[in-house]
């Protein structure tokens, strides 16, 4: 159990109204991180157009922090270039939410990792098979 009043209003707002939930028909890149045995699982799917993230959707199994971080990261990077998106890290995600409880800082804050995986996946597909 987390300590009470651990979450900021911003976390709660994203938890209750998550942006960009779902899956993308025929995504250009998919990133999946986490493991149900350890806690949270996040999946990010992206559509890329002109080197920018044209669309992004997530699916998350996890606690409030996991869902809120997933949601806000999609908002943060939509329309950004892939380079800009790769530069977003979990620390920035946490601070965009007004902070996370200490216990949640690591385990449930994997959204940027999932995003990066999705971008890497896109890039690896874009490359000719080596």
């Amino acid at each position: 159990m987390v300590e009470a009043s651990a979450y900021t209003d911003k976390v709660m707002e994203h938890f209750f109204n998550p942006r960009n939930v779902g899956e993308i028909e025929d995504p250009d890149g998919v990133g999946r991180v986490g493991n149900p045995v350890c806690g949270d699982v996040m999946k990010m799917e992206i559509k890329v157009k002109d080197g920018r993230i044209a669309d992004i959707k997530f699916m998350t199994f996890g606690c409030g922090a996991a869902i809120a971080t997933s949601s806000i990261v999609t908002e943060m990077v939509k329309g950004k270039t892939l380079e800009e998106a790769m530069a977003v890290d979990n620390r920035q995600v946490a601070s965009a939410l007004g902070g996370l409880p200490p216990a949640k800082l690591h385990c449930s804050n994997l959204a940027a990792d999932a995003l990066h995986k999705a971008i890497e996946d896109y890039r690896s597909r874009a490359k000719p098979a080596g």
């Binding site: 709660m12 938890f15 899956e23 699916m59 998350t60 199994f61 606690c63 994997l110």
Partner: protein, 399 residues
């Protein structure tokens, strides 16, 4: 907003009669019970009356009751007290005990004691024959809870007590959850030490008691004045003790009816969840179960997110034990019962109370289904449930 408190296993609302006597004793019986004068005597007699009430509820003698600051201290005093007194030896407990028992045992291991942590079956029950088999020449204590706080399973305490008595080994039982819900008779159960806590039975927080069978000597946890027959020093928490006494009296008075009434709403909730939400698993023993406990795993979703969703509708429940903070690990109880970790992550405990109504349960059922539904729609595990693996791309990373 409607508020429905279904976390009575974490703590209970204080009964108004209890709050009243606590207040009265704060104001009127403020003397120190150790003092000779009339202010002291008033406080002393309030303490001793409470001691008699608690003793009666356990079929014990007043001088066998030691007041403590709660269930945790009672568990520590029992186990550490017996161990330190013995100096060395072997302790038997179970894997599903409260952390107050488990972590005390672990600390004693670092101090040279040997500890066996017995496994439990899929319902969370300790097998008496496992206790019998684990007893060694040097076993000084067995500690098995009367009923589990997370899944509500009632342990076969009488059978374990009979074994311990026959083998001449002391038996402690953490009855913090069972007290007030099950009749407890330390004589019939052959229990030598028993922990209780007021705040689980509509009494105040910060007060509990340890039953210590006459003749058992404990090394105290603390040193100071000669209070509680030299077993627990410190100025007595008079209002707390009086509150525990009153809460005990009320529990005893309601014991013929309260459990059945709670079991009725409990069963309404169990039935309702089973009928309206797919992919759920009831944890704990379906029959030998505390009258207030409902514990379900909701597949493909995580427990805390369910709690947040419920909380936003005024419903209070718990995932795992409220006493373990900051932990992202699944409940040690569910793991000991053999649940896979991912399933255990999705467990939620609803614990009803003496004030819970059928209308409360209807309200909860109306909120819960849609909440689970919404979370499952977000869950990659739910989306992947048919295929059994990731739909496309990506690899798994240890989180």
């Amino acid at each position: 907003m409607r508020e429905v408190y279904l976390d009575h296993a974490a703590t209970t609302p204080v009964h108004p009669e209890v709050a009243e006597v606590v207040h009265a004793h704060l104001v009127d019986a403020y003397g120190n019970p150790s003092s000779l004068h009339r202010f002291g005597r008033r406080a002393r007699s309030a303490v001793e009356q409470a001691r008699e009430r608690v003793a009666r509820a356990l079929a014990a003698e007043p001088e066998e009751i030691v007041f403590t600051s709660g269930g945790t201290e009672a568990d520590n005093l029992a186990i550490r007290g017996v161990a330190r007194r013995a100096g060395s030896g072997h302790i038997i407990t179970s894997q599903i005990e409260h952390h107050a028992v488990l972590h005390t045992c672990e600390a004693l291991e670092t101090e040279g004691f040997a500890v066996t942590y017995l496994p439990v079956d899929a319902q969370g029950r300790v097998k008496p024959e496992d206790v019998a088999a684990a007893i060694r020449e040097d076993t000084i204590l067995v500690s098995i809870m009367a009923a589990n706080n997370e899944v509500g399973t009632i342990e076969p305490l009488a059978a374990i007590g009979a074994i311990c008595r026959r083998r001449g080994v002391l038996l402690h039982s953490d009855a913090v959850q069972a007290f007030g819900q099950l009749p407890l008779d330390v004589g019939a159960l052959n229990v030598d030490l028993m922990s209780i806590s007021a705040h689980k039975v509509y009494g105040p927080k910060g007060i509990g008691a340890l039953y210590v069978r006459r003749g058992i000597r404990l090394t105290p946890l603390m040193y100071g004045g000669g209070h509680e027959r030299r077993r627990r020093p410190g100025t007595e928490n008079v209002p707390g003790i009086v509150g525990l006494g009153m809460a005990t009296e009320i529990a005893l008075r309601e014991l013929p009816d309260r459990p059945q009434a709670m079991a009725a709403v409990r069963d309404q909730l169990i039935r309702g969840i089973g009928e309206t939400i797919p992919d759920v698993v009831l944890n704990g023993d379906p029959v030998d179960r505390l009258p207030n406990n409902v514990n379900f795993c909701f597949r493909y979703v995580e427990g805390e997110s369910i709690l947040l969703a419920l909380d936003s509708k005024g419903i209070a429940a718990s995932s795992g034990s409220a006493c373990t903070s900051g932990a992202l690990e699944p409940s040690h109880v569910l793991v000991a019962m053999g649940l896979p970790h991912d399933l255990a992550q999705g467990s939620v405990r609803f614990s009803v109370g003496r004030g819970t109504t059928a209308g409360d349960i209807d309200y909860v059922l109306g909120v819960l289904g849609p909440a689970i539904d919404r979370l499952r729609k977000m869950s990659p595990l739910y989306a992947e449930r048919a295929g059994g693996g990731p739909r496309a791309g990506g690899t798994s990373l240890e989180g």
